[in-house]
């Protein structure tokens, strides 16, 4: 009953606040209201103007499988940026859906859609809206206060994982997407898009595709653009490049200058070169019990003595990193970053 009331209230709010400064004024109550997909909504068949894309290094989200789409207003273009997020025209939307198959070794079989997050570039800047899929998988509804859902799936080792999945609330969206007090996309950087994608009409480099479709302005020669490796693929970059790629996409949205993790003085973005700021022999600042009795964020040669690994392994909300969006341990990520630390020379 409470949920029904909540939905009714949400609907009322749209009417009530349509002309106030309420951030919800740019959102629609249901995913289908936007017309991003044709046919059966759960199949997520993109309509015209909606283009799927993939990032090479992915944020770990409890092994959820994500599909991503970009939508631009008709006739408008993205302004290319070499290192930062692209600049999008107002009215653009980035769409990200999260699903679990019953067995993640078969990612597209028996899937359950959990949520679809929209990042909309409004006249007041980017705003994130979480939509939660109903049980019958016919629709997703805006849930500004987030949601908690029980999930289970068979993992890569063939074992059952059961946990309480969290859909972020409206504020938590911003918790990750904030930079210099402004909300921003995270994944659509040139270096994360600079690889082949299987389009229905054939494989093509994504940046090239965006350029051919006239979606992007000022794209330089693609061979001059850097590429962040797929950290899961040992053939796509050195150990260090893949580990730094993992750390960048999983940590640097907070741990960079201008973002909430900056208070720690730990900067984990891929461009960072200063060893202390990267955590090497760096004592923690405000970690509390999350230090796990260890002295340094990264102890070269000793992943087991590195706070970074300790926090990647934890599921305790007062210790774990990232603080949000994770209930399970990313075993493959821990393994990769541990190897990188292990191979570092001690002082």
């Amino acid at each position: 009953m409470y949920k029904v009331v909540c939905k009714a209230l949400t609907a009322l709010l749209f009417i009530g606040f349509a002309f106030s400064s309420n951030p919800l004024k740019y959102a629609k109550p249901k995913l289908s209201d936007y017309g991003f997909f044709v046919g059966d909504l759960a199949k997520q068949q993109p309509s015209e103007n909606v283009l799927p894309y993939e990032v090479s290094a992915k944020l770990f989200s409890d092994y959820a499988i994500k599909s991503r789409f970009v939508v631009l207003p008709k006739g408008e273009q993205i302004l290319y940026q070499s290192n930062e997020e692209f600049i999008y025209p107002v009215g653009s939307t980035l769409i990200k859906s999260f699903h679990y198959p019953t067995d993640i070794r078969y990612p597209e079989k028996n899937i359950r859609l959990m949520e679809t997050r929209l990042l909309i570039n409004t006249p007041e800047g980017w705003i994130g809206y979480p939509y939660v899929w109903n049980k019958t998988q016919t629709e997703a509804f805006l849930e500004i206060a987030g949601e908690r859902l029980d999930v289970s799936f068979i993992n890569n080792q063939g074992n059952k994982e059961s946990f309480n999945y969290s859909v972020p609330n409206f504020n938590q969206c911003k918790g990750c997407h904030v930079n210099q007090n402004k909300m921003k996309p995270i994944g659509t950087k040139a270096r994360l898009l600079n690889h082949e994608y299987e389009y229905p009409e054939g494989s093509m480099n994504q940046l090239k595709k965006w350029s051919i479709l006239d979606m992007i302005n000022n794209l330089p020669e693609i061979s001059t653009i850097s590429h962040t490796p797929n950290y899961n693929d040992p053939n796509d970059g050195t150990l260090e490049e893949r580990a730094r790629g993992w750390i960048d996409i999983n940590c640097a949205h907070c741990h960079r200058l201008g973002a909430p993790g900056e208070t720690s003085g730990l900067f984990l973005n891929i461009e960072e070169k200063n060893k202390t700021r990267l955590g090497i022999y760096k004592p923690p600042v405000a970690a509390g019990r999350a230090t796990g009795n260890l002295k340094y964020t990264i102890s070269p040669g000793s992943p087991e003595k590195s706070i970074m690994i300790k926090r990647m392994l934890s599921k305790d909300p007062g210790i774990m990193m990232p603080e949000l969006g994770r209930k399970l341990v990313h075993k493959e990520g821990v393994e990769l970053v541990s190897q990188w630390i292990k191979n570092m020379k001690k002082n």
Partner: protein, 396 residues
Amino acid sequence: MRYLFTILALILTTKISASDIEKDLQTQFILAEPGDTIIIPEGLHDIIGTLSIDGKKDLIIRGYGMDKSILSFINQVEGAQGISITNSSNITLEDFTVRDSKGDAIKTQYVDGIIFRGITAEWTGGPKPSNGAYGLYPVQCTNVLIEFCIAIGASDAGIYVGQSKDIIVRNSKAFHNVAGIEIENSINAKVYENHSYENTGGILVFDLPDLVQIKGDNIHVYQNLIENNNLNNFAPPGNIVGNILPGTGVMILAADNVHIYENTIRNNKSVGTGIVSYFITEEPMTDKTYNPYTSNIHIYNNNFDRKVGLPTLDYEIGQLMAIKYGRTIPDIIYDGMQDPNVSEGLCLQNNIEAKFTNLDIEHNFKNWYSPFISNFSEDKSDFKCISNHNISSNSY
């Protein structure tokens, strides 16, 4: 219109149960408009995820009193804070309690104008390393006021203001924390009329390296009662406050332009007031912009008192003090590391009953086995204040 009333009535009747209060408060925090007051109902409310406020201005969050409106996070499964407030201005938190959060109790970041008034942040299971790090935790904020608050049981600092500017902490109590009150890398702080007791350390003023706000400045700590801070240090190892000796009243670490006056500092068994450089932590220093020295430290018109007894013997400095001074430990302890580029490092004036020692660690600690303790110096003559600090009558 009739439907509206029906729905409102339904909401009023359905939001009573505990888990609904969490969703209801979070929804109100998201939808709040400037000028709104959000009420935390009476009762003990079980909250399992961080409550967050972001991008709001002119908001009051008010309970019915710190004993009446209690948010308990003992069953928290998500989020590293009890309450998180970010990117906001003019936010007032009043008259409620945040209890047993898994990480920090209330963290506010990038807020201009944050008031904590009549707030308790506590961990109820006694002082334990598994308690959250900070109770009240404004960081990178401006115009911070903390008053009539209570902080209990933090495994780092009960009241901690970091990398902030224009700060008042007054009329508050902190006990059973590792650090009672800590001001770190902050500018323009007044800390007065607080009672900090039964912590490991009473009041700390620190400047640490590798932070965004590089240097603190202009910190006034006055008319506080700082006593019986003799609690075992229960900070999880690896934290800088793990270096605080049990029995510390006031500790100034690598800070600049700090004024400690008209306080009553008593029965802190190891260090009444310590003034030390970052060198004493023996941590590596790679931040070229960082100044590890203390400078312009003014300590005057304080009342010191200490019962005869041994300092802590758990820490090397405590052992050395005991060897040298036995059961009558000096009240003001300086590591003797003076910034060569600053004329006034430390000045002392009219500290009643205070005994002083200069450890002179640069010369005495070159070899751990050197007969350094005989070189500890009680000579205050190098540390006279250039300007005269008047005695005020309204100290404790």
